[in-house]
């Protein structure tokens, strides 16, 4: 078991009250898994990935536990997390394209990171060059400024830096969203290669694009309005989803081969609830076309297949 999340709750403290951005999330991922995390904007996916690595105000830890490789991860303690960050758990942030210091050369920047962390740079020098080769970058890049690189090159560079200490868990937050299709493919495949080469043990890949997840993820977790909706093997989530929201979400994905004139797709009417005062029970209730009277109560998480869990009253009824 590489990562286990138990009832994690993280809220945002605002003047008008608490925004329940991450409400009672629990799941597990195995060693070597790539977990895809998908959902609409504002569903809490970035809150989740940030809370694992840097939980700072206005984020507020409310409860829950995180275990990494069997050891408790002190997410709520900023100081204690310092020694875990980068070494055990690392992130490629959403803004990776401007993550590097623009005023120093990339090689110097890596030195700086290592000096700050009190790690020895000498030991990794050769490894760094080897990995640059793997992602198709030249050694000379270390003597360049970030501005001299293209978007895809920067993304690959940040990927190499983030995984240099062989962290147990890597979080990739929307890393392909700003890239073109061909670069997107290259970067995603590299991430899989990093996992295969054991540079990282497991990966959480956060995105709003379900079709990319189908390409690289082993498991997919769907979130809705800060709540857990469904988790399961990628194949199952795409081709046999159980939660009503997942079904609608997958159906709304346009694909090459689907035309408006032949098979018009439908979106999901309405928009997600405000998380400052979310509805009781299932949070999808206002937009759900198949809602029942039970839906005003909190749906339990039930098992519907191997490694496939869902929180939807419809499934509870079906299996009862």
């Amino acid at each position: 078991m590489s990562l286990e999340i138990k009832n994690l709750k993280v809220y945002y403290q605002t003047l008008r009250g608490q925004v329940k951005a991450l409400d009672d999330i629990s799941f597990k991922i195995n060693d070597g898994d790539i977990l895809g995390l998908a959902g609409e904007s504002g569903c809490g996916k970035s809150t989740f990935s940030n809370s694992l690595i840097l939980l700072k105000a206005p984020m507020k830890y409310i409860g829950g536990e995180v275990f990494l490789d069997g050891k408790k991860l002190p997410v709520e303690n900023y100081e204690k997390m310092k020694e875990k960050r980068y070494k055990d758990i690392s992130i490629i942030p959403q803004y990776a394209l401007n993550a590097m210091n623009p005023t120093v050369k990339i090689g110097k920047y890596i030195h700086d990171v290592f000096a700050y962390k009190n790690f020895s740079y000498k030991g990794v020098d050769n490894e760094l060059k080897r990995r640059l080769k793997i992602v198709g970058l030249d050694e000379g890049i270390l003597n360049m400024y970030p501005i001299e690189l293209s978007g895809g090159m920067k993304q690959r560079m940040v990927m190499v830096i983030a995984t240099l200490m062989n962290p147990s868990l890597l979080i990739a937050d929307e890393i392909t969203s700003a890239l073109d299709v061909s670069t997107q493919k290259a970067v995603s495949k590299m991430l899989v290669e990093f996992r295969d080469k054991k540079f990282v043990k497991s990966i959480i890949f956060v995105t709003h694009d379900v079709s990319v997840l189908y390409q690289i993820a082993d498991k997919i977790l769907i979130m809705y309005a800060g709540k857990f909706a469904e988790i399961g093997p990628a194949e199952k989530i795409i081709h046999n989803p159980r939660h009503v929201y997942t079904k609608l979400l997958v159906k709304a994905m346009p694909e090459v081969g689907i035309k408006f004139s032949d098979t018009p797709l439908t979106g999901i009417p309405g928009h997600p609830p405000l998380l400052i005062d979310p509805p009781e029970g299932c949070r999808f209730i206002d937009r759900c076309p198949e809602k029942m009277k039970e839906c005003v109560k909190e749906p339990p998480v039930i098992k519907v297949g191997e490694d496939h869990y869902v929180a939807c009253w419809k499934e509870v009824k079906k299996n009862a």
Partner: protein, 298 residues
Amino acid sequence: MLEATNLTKEFKVGSFGRGVFKAVNKASFKIDNKDIVSLIGESGSGKTTIGRMILKLTQISGGQIKYNGKDVSDIKNKNLKEYYRKVQGVFQDPFSTFNPIFKADRIFKMVKNEFYPALSNKEWEKKLDDSLKSVGLNPKEVLNKYPHQLSGGQLQRFLIARALLIDVELLIADEIISMLDASTRIDVLNLLAMLKEKGLSVLFITHDLSLGYYISNKAIILYRGVIVEMGPTDKVFFNPVHSYTQSLLDSVPRLDMKWDEIPKRKKTYTDIVSYIPGMSKRELKMTEIEENHFVAIE
């Protein structure tokens, strides 16, 4: 209705503008009545520049754009308003297009003052209601609200409604759904396709191939400012000839097949070299390889 011939845009680069960067290089294409044309390209391929040139937001460096037979760059002063009555643009970011301190009504009021000063208030309100309803918005819900009170999908539809108010014929839609969520973007797309039935033409600028395929009947593939392939959507997507189009299509994440399972494409036309515009001195010619399907070949 719109015809571009050898459309070129050059930007001066380098110190004192000594270098020349061709953002768009001799692009020729046509948009007919009731066409939805998707203009597909990666970032920096010049797709937005083409849209801006049609909207007269950027000057043309070479070639020309003809709208209903008239050269667009000759349209000036009074005629410009007439032109904008027919051709309108909607852009990527709906959140920053609106003035945040104006209520929605005021935005529409500006349209009235500008284009329909003679119309009575009652007639105007009816027109406004119709146009909002045609984009699927409830006028009572959205008028009298500030932009921050509306969602991205609502704002984007607002912009389309505003364009429709003035009997627009051609809509330049520049990445209009890239900022929207998967669950709402499809509604905006469907709206465009429905408006097409009513006689609207759309230039749909996007980097997302599946969205382009979904609504357009013609596709133009742009690479470094050069049109490498264009034609009816089905022909371009299912019988791509240029190696760039092929590699682009093979990179699209699909839900029915993984990247590794995609079969290698057979080279159908062996004389097509993988040509990198700007790197090579060779001239390309648009060649019709089947009906209406053009490919840039040496």
